[in-house]
Symmetry: C2
Subunit: 421 residues, 2 copies
């Protein structure tokens, strides 16, 4: 492209900031009108979207992109219907903007409380999935934020076609065109500019593989809400109900292999290992899960388990592979999780009240669970209605990030001419 | 110093992480015991603290440091008593760790809610004020966080003496020595290492001048909770009560000149300017405040006002200087504040309900006020009990940051063997 990328991105940033001022005062009805219109236009334009997507797919195939990426890139009629339905569901969610809470009178006579407000301008950087365009735009719009979307170059035509529906919806609801902007260059320099637009962009949400997220976190000059990998654990205590333990371990590993809330390492209390591990191994073998164990696991499951290396404890397989470790008890389990885990989601299976309580407090993860499968760590399951992703960061929103995670609270002071003495 | 700074800081980081695990499960009684002991030791060691401080002061004087810095560096018997009292007040505050909220049953049968937990390891980087050592250590300890403190080299001996009291208090309460670590080298490279200890340090809180904070924000690889400057505004609407307007404007500017919540620019509605500006000018002149105005202000206050330049609108004077602008009304006031302000604290004086409501929603600042002086933006005035500073960032804690700002919420899921279907 024959433009100055720096200047172009600055222009996008200024336009987004201006639009965000309008969105910050836009009422709920108007935002919902835009969202419902966008959903209808996505359905109406299904054929156009499929045609644009076909162009992207053809280019990706001839460039020899791997099948998994082609899968993520592909739109189907059912996928498009789902995309529209997702936007409608976001319209149906309560508007978090303007929520006022915790108001109380202070000794000085002022009344102090909080009001929830949009973050301002959110930059979304993603890879091949075109549905993120509709999804992220809808979440940001509903939460009163302007968005700058930068999708992968593989999905360029698909994203532009979806953006067209978004812009038509905005226009119908009389909202600024620049409330949602899609970067219309595939130049990689645009990403570098976007993540350094201090004062124009308030937060970056990268969605994609670990290397993308690491690169963005490293180079960004504006805050990043990160969605890193999930190296999730289930610890089966010796006070666990064995049937529940087996069901949870099996569900946490085999319900879906490629999700970030899938269990990657199973920890088993040493007093329970001789009884439980052979039963678990039977079930995992039925499902075709490869087991990699510590020495004690291997001694119990002679010949059925490969040796686990130090690297296995830190690995997110995203595949039918499970690392297993026998631990002395709760303390070793907690230490192992805090050391090797990714602070995403970890569960204990136990009927012991005190151990459950300690696990919840001491495991330093975004989601901690008792007697439930790690697969529940999800914005829909938690009742957020939708999520922009799952944060493993410790500041701002942690765990599944929904509309509230795209807002923050400001302090409100109401007085009657109060001055400070 | 003859040590490898990188290795030294890594060692501090690992020790802090280990201590943070203990603190995360330490009960409230034990943390309070440590805090009360620290307060007593500070009082007991007042003479030692004064002697250490005298060494720092002598070095600073002979190095020709400016009087304002010497002031910040100086400990007095009264200041030491206040430091101890501050630590006791933090002991008396409710413990935020473990607060559980928003629990509800989901359609799946799991019960989902949130639990407040410490951030982990907090790095504090500050300049000449030795009292920050006690203050920050106490806030972090109460909120269950391990701390690495890096004070200015000018306060080296004072900080070490205070750290001694902190460590004695920790020992008395049987808490790990490394719960609070004071960097014991004045090598500037230590700061660069501290702010890049990814995985060992969870958040950096820089306290000091703007240039320090900008440098740290630029170079940090771990999240930073920032406390930048305050370019605060008061907008006097034409529906304002004139007596209240004058009292608030005067208090916001002249109560203290050097604080971040002091008003730096006054905006006056054009319909009210002819009546109000001469009265305001009288009062500001009595107090010796230099006025710098826009053209319309100067026309009204002929000869009493210097011209304000574009730069004045963005300037935090921290001095008896005030910029004044006559605006067309609410829209121009909001635009001016959002454009030139620092998103710290801004107030409207009005008796008009709708304008007050719009100002609260549309001004994009950490604190927004109606009919109250900006000077109220303060952790104590808001009821936080104490504050580590005031954040102008938009993610995580905004405005005055107290104990809650040093914690975050994790998700808790309670099941009875629930798996995801």
């Amino acid at each position: 492209m024959d433009i100055d990328i720096k200047e172009y991105m600055q222009r996008l940033g200024h336009a987004a900031r201006k639009a965000s001022r309008v969105l910050s005062r836009t009422d709920t009805h108007q935002k919902n009108a835009a969202l419902n219109a966008i959903a209808s236009f996505i359905e109406r334009d299904a054929d156009t979207l499929l045609a644009a997507n076909a162009r992207d797919l053809a280019a990706a195939e001839s460039a020899g992109l791997e099948p998994a990426l082609l899968d993520r890139l592909r739109l189907t009629p059912a996928g498009i219907a789902q995309m529209a339905e997702g936007v409608r569901q976001i319209a149906a969610l309560p508007d978090p903007v303007g929520e006022m809470s915790e108001f109380s009178y202070r000794p000085s006579g002022i009344q102090v409380g909080k009001m929830r407000s949009p973050l301002g301008v959110i930059g979304i950087i993603y890879e091949a999935r075109p549905n993120v365009t509709a999804d992220a735009a809808a979440l940001c719009l509903k939460s009163g934020n302007a968005t700058i979307l930068r999708g992968g170059s593989e999905a360029f035509h698909s994203n532009q076609a979806i953006a067209h529906c978004v812009h038509e919806g905005l226009r119908l609801a009389d909202l600024p065109h620049n409330a949602v902007q899609v970067v219309d260059t595939t130049d990689r320099a645009a990403v570098g500019e976007l993540i350094t637009l201090t004062g124009l962009v308030d937060v970056i949400v990268p969605r994609g593989g670990k290397s993308l997220i690491e690169r963005i976190s490293r180079d960004a000059r504006v805050p990043v809400i990160k969605h890193l990998d999930g190296n999730c654990h289930v610890f089966i205590d010796d006070a666990a109900n064995p049937d529940k333990a087996i069901a949870i371990a099996l569900n946490a590993k085999t319900h879906r292999y490629g999700t970030c809330n899938t269990m990657e390492t199973l920890l088993v209390h040493e007093s329970f290992a001789n009884y439980l591990l052979p039963k678990l191994a039977d079930r995992f073998e039925e499902k075709g899960v490869e087991l990699r164990g510590c020495d004690r696991t291997r001694a119990i499951l002679a010949g059925r388990v490969k040796p686990a290396t130090e690297e296995d404890w830190s690995t997110e397989y995203l595949a039918p592979i499970l690392a297993i470790k026998v631990v002395h008890g709760l303390d070793e389990a907690i230490d192992h999780i805090n050391l090797y885990g990714s602070h995403h989601t970890d569960a204990i299976v136990t009927d012991d009240y005190s151990r459950a309580r300690r696990f919840l407090r001491e495991v330093d993860s975004a989601s901690v669970m008792v007697n439930a499968s790690t697969r529940f760590a999800d914005g829909f399951e938690y009742g957020l209605g939708a999520e922009i992703g799952i944060s493993t960061d410790k500041i701002h929103a942690r765990g599944p990030v929904g509309l509230k995670g795209l807002t923050n609270e400001k302090w409100v002071v109401l007085g009657e001419g109060h001055i400070r003495e």
